[in-house]
Structure formats: structure tokens, C-alpha cells
């Protein structure tokens, strides 16, 4: 026992040393970081430090076992450093990195004594792969504990042996579910799946790990004997495997999944784990990582990850406060959804509406969500009850003395909104409370006029449905304070959403960009294209939903209202297509009224087709079907143009905002690298050229902005 503490020269040489200590029982505890580190990722430096520590252990005499654990509470290891992943450009470089990491982790297996992973907090990606090389895994029941291999979400495959070890440990079906979907498991499900061997209370994590080591030492074993049983066995080791593989393969070729190569690679690797030798499997894995890490898809996804991290930092700036008590006025679809989200995240929320029916519906809608999560065991019953209890619904506002977030989601009527805000202030809303509006089209500044201390008035624009849509536009009015913006961003992050800060200009970012896109889709329809065709082209482009289906979701009433506002602000560029008003007149609004272009439940044809026919006839021009490339040019290029216009008009501050906003807001294909990434890879010159051509041959509305033209030249 010749190790005491990390050597003192560590600090001076600048070389990273991982804390390593051997206790009186001969068990070493190796920590993956220093106590002050709240996040641990594998940089090259840390991998080498781990390598040195494991080598040191290999030559330590009298050692009986090793526990590898995180730096302290609530963190094991969050995987490879994303910056590192992003920086690797070539296949060879990626492959070498994989081989290096795996060969270091393999030292755990080569040690003569048993090695236990004591896991608390995130144990994901490379962290999980290290744990998989350990002989036994103990997980803390701490709420932060999550285990899994989410690499495919970054467009890569696990490269440090994860696909091979995971599949051998838990069997093919579970491994595919975890790796292909990047799913993370909480401790109890992880134990059930066989990913961890034992669960420990947080305070006894190391003791339980020692206990597991003692048991192995007593039995004279390096590792427990493991065999696959039941389903895991049948679907891994017998011909039944084909069923699991085919089901997974099918899912990977459907919908948006088809644009992502990494899960398909991961699938092949998982199959190799049970069909070829470990050496071959590991080699194939390293090669696959190299191939995947160099793809533009992976670069786009890691870039998107950085954008989400950037977005999360918005809520951490000075003056950001946590909201504790919220009053939501307006119990419609948006208000009810928002209120449920707030209650979900621990905010005491009161939802007010004059209609009792709307209020009951809001509670029922939340209950539906909660029941589903309870039945899926994502939530315990008492937790669901606490969430439901947090949502009070009433027609009376009550006292506002304790409210720190007041938000309206009533009809888009400036007068009504101004009146309600004034009323809130008169009813005793504290001067430091946030006064927020969920408006999608009205100017925040015009509302702030109604309120003393207008610096607290801010727009918090949720998208429909608030339960699912990940983006929030935080609207900064002329007088909105930095603190109010930061508080709104913090709220968004707390709700698990991504905020972007936008200027107080019509349509903000998302609706403004969407407007020419939807208008153009309607024009293409009227010209004689089938909605199914248009939607298919856009789905093939990579969007999650085609424009015609999107119109049905939004509703033609809302689309009309928004496009009127847009036309008011941007004149002919945003002139609404005649189809909009015709659909409204025929009450074929979309999903909400029993169907629009598609049927009520989104299937078949809806009542809107007749309206479309009439509009086509009235136009009196013969039908003309567009080519696939024309559809993309007419729908997507103006979207690019409008996005850059937003940047030039100061609606957003940076290209990153455009990318995050449009990926999260309209589902612009993440694998394309955001809208600016797409524009650059498509070539700004090409886009400007195509738009100029369209402007010349068809309509001046296509004329690109000077800003875009300037960029194309440079």
C-alpha cells in the first residue's frame, strides 16, 4: 500500500491528476475529477490522467479492489468532451481517439483485482462506457443519476467499447433501445435491465461498492458470472434475433430517422457484439466512430448542442430570478398548457378564466399528461398529485401580493391586454414581479405603456402545444430591463425549453420566417400542386412536417391573422394567399374544426379540398405542377432570406439565434446545421441567384434582401 494522496507536484506541473486513495482494507478509490468539479468530461488530458492512475494501480501491491467514482455528489462523468468531438475532422483521427480511450478503459479489465463503478449523477456516453468496462456497477438512488449512451444524438456511435459491452451485458433488445434512441435510464430501471447490479442510498454509495468488492474477493472472482436470461437471451442468441433487428431497422428508415446515419451504424455494431469476436467488434466500433465523427451530420448536431448550451446560459445572467408563484390569465389552449408546464416544474400556479369549462379542461389536460407518465412509471402517484395540486384554477385572480410572474394568454387584442395589465398592477402586483405576455403578433412596447415600471414587461412567447414545443421567444421591448429578460430566460430553461431573445418586431423571429413559407405553400396549392406532393417534398427535405399539414395544425384562422399582421408590417412580401381567407370563410380551419386540407384526425382528405378547388377555378389559370426542386426553392429559399432579414433588422443578435430558433421553432432539419449552416452549404450565391430568377420570372416578392446579396458576394 504505497499510495496515499495525489502527488503534490500535480498543481505545479499543470498535469492533471485524478484523486486516488487506498483505504485500510486495501480498496482503492479513484475519482474521475477533483471535488470542486461539478461537471466531469473526458478530455484527452483526463483520459491520460486516468491511464496513469490505472497503471499506477496495476503496480500497487496489496490492492484488493478498486472503486471508480465521480468527483463528489451528483456527477460521475458526462462523457467525452463535446468540444473534442466537434474538433475531430478526419476518420483516422476519430478512429485513433476511439482506440486510445478504449485501450485505457480496458485496463480496468486487465487489473487483477475487481473494479466497481460507484455511480451517482450523470453516467453517460464515455462515462457509461467506462462503467461498462468495470466488473460491477453500483448506482446511487440520487435523483440526478442517469445512465446511458446518447452518442447517436450527436451523430456518432459510442466509440469506447459501449456498443459491444452494452449489448453483451443487457442483450440486444435493450441495447438497441438504449443506444439507437440515446435513451438514459434512472437507477431502478437500469437495475431492472441489468445495466447496474445494485442500488445504494446516496450516503452509502462507496460502502455498498466496497461490499460488492468484498463479495467478489471472498469468492475469489474478478467479476460476477453473467449470462443473458429470458427475452434478452432469446432475442440475442437465437434466430429470434432477426425479429429485434428487423424492427429496429425498419424504425431507422422511417420519418426523420432516415437522415441520420449513426443509429444505423450503431445497429450493425450491436449485432457484431454477439456475432463476432470482441477484438473484431471493438475494431469495427472504432472505425465506425471515425466515419461518423467526420460526417457533416455529426458536426451539425454538436454545433446544435453548443447552441443549446448557449441558450441555457441566458438564464444565468445577472438579475435573473426564480419565479415561485405565477398567475396566468386566459385558460385557452395556450394558457392552460403554459400553466400545466409551470405546475410541472414546481411553480405554484393560478390559472384564471371566466369560463368554468376552460378551467376544468385545463386540469383535465394536465391530469391526462400526469396519468400517462404515472402509467409509464416516469412519475410516482404522489408526485403527480403534487403537480396537480400546484395548479389552482379559478375565475378570481385573488391577491397578487405574492405573485412574481403574471402572464396573460388571452385573445390577441391590444386593448384587452393593456386593460388586464393595468388591472394587475392596480390589484397589487408587486413592482418587482414580471409582467409577461404570450402574444404572438402584438407589440410588447404598446402593452408596456399601460404599466408603471414598464421595464418589467416582457414577452414570453410559447409555441403550440406548450407541452411539446422546445422553443421560447423572449421578447425584449424597448424598455424591458435586462433582469426581466434574464428572468424570462431562466423560466424557459427551468421548463426544459430553449429561450432565444428577440426584438419587439412583428412576428418576432419564428412567425415572421414562417409567414412567407406558409404563404408560398398556399400559392403552390392554388397553382395546382397536390398537398400530399408538397408535404412529401418538404419531409424529404428533412422537416418534421409538411407545410400543408402544418397549416392544418396552426389553423387557417390563426394563419390568416398572423399573415395580416405580417402584411401590415412588410407589405407585398407577405401578402396572404387568397386560399387563407377562403378557408376561413368555409370554416375549414384545420384540425380544430374537424379538418382543413386533411381530415379531422390528420388523415384522408378534408373539407378544405373543395375550397381549394373553388379558389383554383376562380383564379382561372390552368393547373401547373411544380418540380421538386422548384418547391424547395420557393419554400425554403425565402425562409433563408427572411431569416437573414431578421438578423439584419436586429430581431435577433446573432446567426446562432437563427439556427437555434428555427431548429427548435419550426423543426428546420437539425442535420443540416441550422438555417445558416444549410444556406452556406447550399451556397448563398445559389440561393440569391435562384431568388433573383424567381423574382424576374414570376413575382417581385422573391427578391432577396440586400443583406443576403452582400453576404453572397463575400
Amino acid at each position: 500500500m504505497n499510495i496515499t494522496e495525489t502527488r503534490p507536484e500535480a498543481a505545479t506541473t499543470g498535469m492533471l491528476h485524478l484523486p486516488l486513495q487506498v483505504n485500510a482494507r486495501g480498496f482503492a478509490v479513484l475519482r474521475l475529477g477533483r471535488p470542486e468539479e461539478s461537471v466531469v468530461t473526458f478530455t484527452k488530458e483526463r483520459l491520460l490522467a486516468l491511464d496513469r492512475a490505472l497503471q499506477q494501480l496495476a503496480s500497487t501491491t496489496g490492492l484488493r479492489g478498486v472503486v471508480i467514482t465521480g468527483p463528489g455528489a451528483a456527477m460521475f462523468c458526462a462523457g467525452a468532451d463535446i468540444g473534442l468531438i466537434h474538433s475531430i475532422q478526419t476518420v483516422a483521427e476519430g478512429r485513433d481517439a476511439a482506440v486510445l480511450g478504449r485501450s485505457i478503459f480496458e485496463r480496468c479489465q486487465k487489473l487483477a483485482v475487481p473494479v466497481a463503478a460507484a455511480i451517482e449523477g450523470p453516467c453517460v456516453g464515455g462515462g457509461c462506457e467506462l462503467a461498462l468496462f468495470c466488473d460491477v456497477r453500483v448506482a446511487s438512488d440520487h435523483p440526478s443519476t442517469q445512465i446511458g449512451l446518447p452518442e447517436t444524438k450527436l451523430g456518432i456511435v459510442p466509440g469506447f467499447g459501449g456498443t459491444q459491452n452494452m449489448t453483451r451485458l443487457v442483450g440486444l433488445p435493450t441495447a438497441l433501445d438504449l443506444i439507437l434512441n440515446g435513451k438514459l435510464l434512472r437507477p431502478y430501471p437500469a437495475r431492472k435491465k441489468g445495466l447496474v447490479d445494485r442500488i445504494a442510498p446516496s450516503s452509502k454509495l462507496l460502502d455498498i461498492a466496497f461490499e460488492e468488492l468484498e463479495r467478489l474477493v471472498a469468492a475469489g472472482k474478478k467479476a460476477p458470472t453473467r449470462t443473458l436470461r429470458g427475452q434478452a437471451y432469446w432475442f440475442s442468441k437465437t434466430p429470434l434475433r432477426a425479429l429485434a433487428v428487423n424492427a429496429a431497422r425498419k424504425a431507422l428508415n422511417k420519418g426523420q430517422a432516415r437522415f441520420y446515419p449513426a443509429p444505423k451504424q450503431a445497429l450493425e455494431l450491436c449485432i457484431k457484439a454477439i456475432t463476432v469476436s470482441p477484438e473484431q467488434g471493438f475494431a469495427a466500433e472504432a472505425q465506425a466512430l471515425g466515419e461518423m465523427i467526420a460526417t457533416p451530420v455529426s458536426k451539425a448536431l454538436t454545433q446544435l448542442f453548443f447552441l443549446t448550451e448557449r441558450s441555457k446560459r441566458l438564464g444565468k445572467s445577472d438579475g435573473a430570478k426564480d419565479c415561485k408563484r405565477a398567475l396566468i390569465v386566459g385558460g385557452g389552449v395556450m394558457g392552460a398548457g403554459i400553466a400545466g408546464q409551470l405546475a410541472n416544474k414546481g411553480i405554484a400556479t393560478r390559472l384564471c378564466d371566466l369560463s368554468g369549462e376552460a378551467l376544468a379542461k385545463a386540469k383535465a389536460r394536465l391530469q391526462q399528461d400526469l396519468s400517462r407518465r404515472v402509467s409509464r412509471k416516469q412519475l410516482q402517484k404522489h408526485e403527480a398529485q403534487a403537480i396537480q395540486d400546484r395548479l389552482a384554477v379559478a375565475s378570481e385572480w385573488g391577491g397578487l401580493a405574492n405573485v412574481d410572474l403574471w402572464l396573460e394568454a388571452v385573445v390577441e387584442d391590444l386593448g384587452v391586454k393593456r386593460k388586464l395589465m393595468a388591472q394587475a398592477v392596480a390589484a397589487g402586483l408587486p413592482a418587482n414581479a414580471i409582467v409577461a405576455t404570450n402574444t404572438s403578433s402584438l407589440p410588447v412596447d404598446a402593452m408596456a405603456d399601460a404599466v408603471p415600471h414598464p421595464e418589467r414587461v416582457v414577452g414570453i412567447h410559447f409555441f403550440n402545444p406548450p407541452e411539446k414545443m422546445p422553443l421560447i421567444e423572449v421578447i425584449r421591448g424597448k424598455r424591458t430591463s435586462d433582469a426581466a429578460v434574464a428572468t424570462a430566460c431562466r423560466l424557459a430553461t427551468r421548463l426544459g425549453k430553449f429561450p432565444i431573445v428577440v426584438g419587439d418586431s412583428p412576428g418576432f423571429l419564428v412567425n415572421r420566417c414562417l409567414s412567407p413559407y406558409l404563404n408560398e405553400a398556399a400559392r403552390l396549392l392554388v397553382e395546382g400542386n397536390d398537398p400530399e406532393f408538397l408535404d412529401r417534398v418538404i419531409l424529404d427535405f428533412g422537416m418534421p412536417m409538411g407545410p400543408c399539414r402544418l397549416l392544418d395544425e396552426i389553423g387557417f384562422d390563426v394563419a390568416t391573422k398572423v399573415s395580416e399582421v405580417m402584411q401590415g408590417a412588410f407589405a407585398e412580401r407577405m401578402q396572404p394567399c387568397a386560399l387563407f381567407s377562403a378557408m376561413v370563410a368555409a370554416k375549414a380551419l384545420g384540425k380544430k374544426t374537424g379538418g382543413g386540407i386533411y381530415g379531422k384526425d390528420g388523415k384522408g382528405v378534408g373539407p378544405g379540398r373543395k375550397v381549394l378547388e373553388t379558389v383554383r377555378e376562380q383564379r382561372g389559370v390552368p393547373k401547373r405542377e411544380a418540380s421538386r426542386s422548384e418547391v424547395v426553392q420557393r419554400l425554403v429559399y425565402p425562409l433563408v432570406d427572411e431569416a437573414y432579414r431578421c438578423l439584419d433588422d436586429g430581431v435577433v443578435a446573432a446567426e446562432q439565434d437563427l439556427d437555434l430558433g428555427l431548429v427548435m421553432g419550426i423543426g428546420f432539419p437539425p442535420f443540416l446545421g441550422g438555417i445558416t449552416g444549410y444556406a452556406k452549404s447550399e451556397g448563398l450565391k445559389t440561393i440569391v441567384g435562384a431568388l433573383d430568377e424567381l423574382a424576374r420570372t414570376s413575382d417581385p416578392r422573391f427578391r432577396p434582401s440586400d443583406g443576403l446579396r452582400r453576404r453572397a458576394v463575400n
Binding site: A348, R350, G356, E357, L359, A360, K361, K363, A364, Q367, Q385, A386, D389, R390, A392, V393, A394, S395, E396, G398, G399, L400, A401, N402, V403, G428
Partner: protein, 432 residues
């Protein structure tokens, strides 16, 4: 600090609608109901929750899963964990007991601001396993070998499946073996109150409640409740009132307690009902300091015991002491709320108040307490029409009384209940 500064002021209060057991509120437990009214009190008053010293809630039949309903509801409504909570139980007066307990804590210097109330879910009163069934299950549990198990199983009798009905057992006096309705028959016989008088009183209760609802008078005290567990609708009004109730319809009902010669029917007795009441109470001094206008202030109270066989006369026994504490006369009372457990019992109270003989014999007074004018009594109807969610009633009476005193711009009111087991409880409110 003047003496009055230590009087307990009811600052605000709301209740759920009172709905027939097995009906609109049946999906909610007592804690669900109490959570709702507590949250409403917190939200609507906007009081700093940390200012509350204790939560006191009456509940006569809490569910086994939430035995201290007060604590469960306090935490669920979002009160900080540091605030203690107690559930109190004095049968039908449990809700009033909560209020009086707060008053006494205030006078004892044990807190100044209280969240009080009463909650009852009679829908959820359980069916209990009979003793024989319990014995059967314990025997089965203890059995180890196969033969022992077979022996234990063989002891099963279908008849032992008969459950004990908590609501029936709860409404039976274990000392005298009488059901509450039988004690009402006793009161009726003592004062010669006949069926017609009972039915007429019941009709009046329905008519007054109907008028109060039509005039939207309960709107100030009801906080609409989203029906559980499916939240299908917002329940905003009491549903026990029978619109267009008639003497003929009442006369058709058969007596339920004394089937042979009785007069008490379901028509002239209170209804089994679910409901909860929550009130914010504090010293008058604190209310003044916070700039809150109290609904009313408690000026006097009393709790007394009497023969369980005549428990319905409890209010008569409690009132003189409460009046004495308040320093006022019976004739000073502008409004009176006596819980309508049974028409016979309220009418009996009215007779006893006015009887020299009864007041002398039972209370040792030199003469009758006084005539109780029907125009002052239960002016918005009572439990016969609105229902009697046991512990909630004791809190509803002072709340309804306080609102009515303010509405009529009157000063003094009496709220009183008879209590199963032979007790009476009363309090005097003054609108300030």
C-alpha cells in the same frame, strides 16, 4: 393592547360547494377538498404563508391514508413545512372546534394567525371488515403448513363478509345504542313536535336555501371545485336543495329510524354530503395591522355536555354561557344559525329556549332564555337543504353567518350545533 385586540377575527373564508354524498365531489377525499379551500384562502387573500402560525382542521372521519388531514392538506396546498397542523374531532362540531381551538391558542399566546376549517368526504366513509373477517384473515396469515392453511380456510363463512358501514356506525351513539335519528324522535316526543311541523320546517329550509341560491348569496363563500378525479367540470353550486319541494312530497316519505311510530324521515333530516370550509383567522390587532377588514369577530363561545339521548338540544345548553361570555342578551342576537341535524331537533331547541320549565329544570335558570324568532333563524336555509358534511358544517355556520350579518348590516349572531354523544357548542359573532 385592549382586551378586544385578542379577539379572533375571521378575515376571510371560502368553501367548496356542498354536494350530495356519492355525487359530484365523491371522487375527492377530505384532504383533496381541504387542499382546495386552503389554496383558495392563500391565493385569494394573498397572505404571506409564512405568517400563518398553525393549521387547525376539523374532520370527523378522515381516511386511513390521511389520518391527520390537516397536515396533508396544509402541505398539499403549498404551505411551508415549518407550519404545524392538527386535525380536531368533536363529531358534528369539529369545524367549529377548529375555530375555537384557534381562539384559545390566541388567548394563550400560542400564535396569532391561523388557517382553520372543516372537511368531510362522507362519500368516502369506508366499509370496514367485520370482526369475524378480520379473525379469518389473521388466522390465514398465521397458518404455516398446508393443513393449517386448509383449516384456516375452512373457517370462512359467507356471512362474515358483511361489512361494517362506517357512516352508520359513526351516526350511532355507542353509550345509548341510539341512532342520531332516534335522539331526534326523543326530542320530538319531549316537546310534542309532530310530523307536519317537521315537514313544514324542512320545506322552509329548502325554500330559503333556494331563494339564497337564486339571489346568488352563497357566491361570496363558494370557491368552485374542479371535480375529481377526471376534472370533467367545475362544480360551483350546492346540489342538495330540492327545487319546488312540497309538503305532499315530504309527507309521502316513511320514517327511517323508528319505523313503527316515528316521524323522522330522510326528508326532515339533514343530508349526507361532501364539503370543506377554509378560513383565515387572526387576532383583531393583526388584522388591523395588515389592513384587513374582518368579516366578523368571535365574542364568546361555549361547549357543554348533556344527555346523549337528547343530544339535539345541545345548542340550548351552550347558548347561555356563550352569551354570558360575550356580555350580551339573547334578545341582542340579530341572526341565529342552528345546525339542522333534524327538523325535530331545531324545533325542539326553539321550544326549549322559550320554556321556563326546561330552562329551569335542565339549566338551573330562573326563567326561559327567550323566544327565538323564526325570521332570525337559518335565514338562508340549513343542513336539511344544503347538507351536513359533518366537520365542515361547524365551519360553514360561522362563515355563512358572518357574511349574512354583513349583508344585512346587523351586529350580533349566534352559531350553534348539537353534537352526537350529547354535547352542544356555540359561538357569538360580531360584525365589525
Amino acid at each position: 393592547m385592549t382586551n378586544h385586540d385578542l379577539d379572533l377575527a375571521i378575515v376571510a373564508g371560502w368553501r367548496t360547494p356542498f354536494c350530495k354524498a356519492g355525487g359530484a365531489l365523491a371522487g375527492a377525499s377530505a384532504a383533496d377538498l381541504a387542499t382546495h379551500v386552503f389554496r383558495e384562502v392563500l391565493d385569494r387573500t394573498g397572505i404571506d404563508p409564512k405568517a400563518i402560525d398553525e393549521v387547525i382542521l376539523g374532520c370527523a372521519g378522515p381516511d386511513a391514508a390521511e389520518a391527520n388531514v390537516a397536515r396533508v392538506a396544509a402541505l398539499r396546498s403549498g404551505l411551508p413545512k415549518e407550519i404545524p397542523a392538527v386535525t380536531v374531532m368533536r363529531n358534528c362540531a369539529s369545524g367549529m372546534e377548529a375555530l375555537l381551538a384557534a381562539e384559545q391558542r390566541l388567548r394563550a399566546g400560542d400564535g396569532e394567525v391561523f388557517l382553520v376549517g372543516g372537511a368531510e368526504s362522507m362519500s368516502n366513509f369506508p366499509l370496514l371488515m367485520g370482526k369475524r373477517l378480520v379473525k379469518f384473515f389473521t388466522g390465514l396469515q398465521k397458518a404455516r403448513s398446508v393443513t393449517q392453511r386448509l383449516m384456516a380456510l375452512s373457517k370462512f363463512r359467507v356471512s362474515s363478509m358483511k361489512p361494517r358501514v362506517a357512516v352508520v356506525e359513526g351516526l350511532t351513539d355507542p353509550i345509548t345504542g341510539l341512532m342520531m335519528g332516534n335522539t331526534a324522535e326523543n326530542v320530538a316526543r319531549l316537546f310534542g313536535i309532530d310530523r307536519a311541523a317537521m315537514d313544514a320546517f324542512s320545506l322552509q329550509s329548502h325554500q330559503r336555501a333556494e331563494a339564497a341560491i337564486a339571489a346568488n348569496r352563497f357566491a361570496v363563500e363558494i370557491a368552485p371545485f374542479a371535480s375529481q378525479p377526471h376534472f370533467a367540470a367545475m362544480i360551483s353550486s350546492d346540489d342538495g336543495v330540492r327545487q319546488g319541494q312540497t309538503m305532499e312530497a315530504l309527507a309521502k316519505l316513511r320514517p327511517v329510524f323508528d319505523k313503527n311510530a316515528g316521524d323522522v324521515t330522510v326528508g326532515n333530516a339533514c343530508q349526507l354530503t361532501d364539503g370543506a370550509v377554509g378560513m383565515l383567522c387572526m387576532s383583531l390587532a393583526r388584522a388591523k395591522a395588515l389592513g384587513l377588514q374582518p368579516l366578523a369577530v368571535i365574542r364568546g363561545h361555549a361547549r357543554v355536555g348533556l344527555s346523549p339521548e337528547f343530544m339535539g338540544l345541545g345548542p340550548v345548553h351552550a347558548t347561555p354561557r356563550a352569551l354570558q361570555q360575550a356580555g350580551i342578551q339573547f334578545s341582542d342576537l340579530d341572526l341565529v344559525e342552528i345546525n339542522e341535524a333534524f327538523a325535530a331537533q331545531v324545533l325542539g331547541c326553539q321550544k326549549a329556549f322559550a320554556s321556563d320549565d326546561y330552562c329551569h329544570r335542565e339549566l338551573g335558570l330562573s326563567e326561559a332564555i327567550g323566544e327565538l324568532d323564526s325570521r332570525k333563524l337559518n335565514v338562508n336555509g340549513g343542513a336539511i337543504a344544503l347538507g351536513h358534511p359533518i366537520a365542515a358544517s361547524g365551519a360553514r355556520l360561522p362563515l355563512t353567518l358572518a357574511h349574512e350579518l354583513r349583508r344585512q348590516k346587523k351586529r350580533f349572531g349566534l352559531a350553534s350545533l348539537c353534537i352526537g354523544g350529547g354535547q352542544g357548542q356555540a359561538l357569538i359573532l360580531e360584525a365589525v
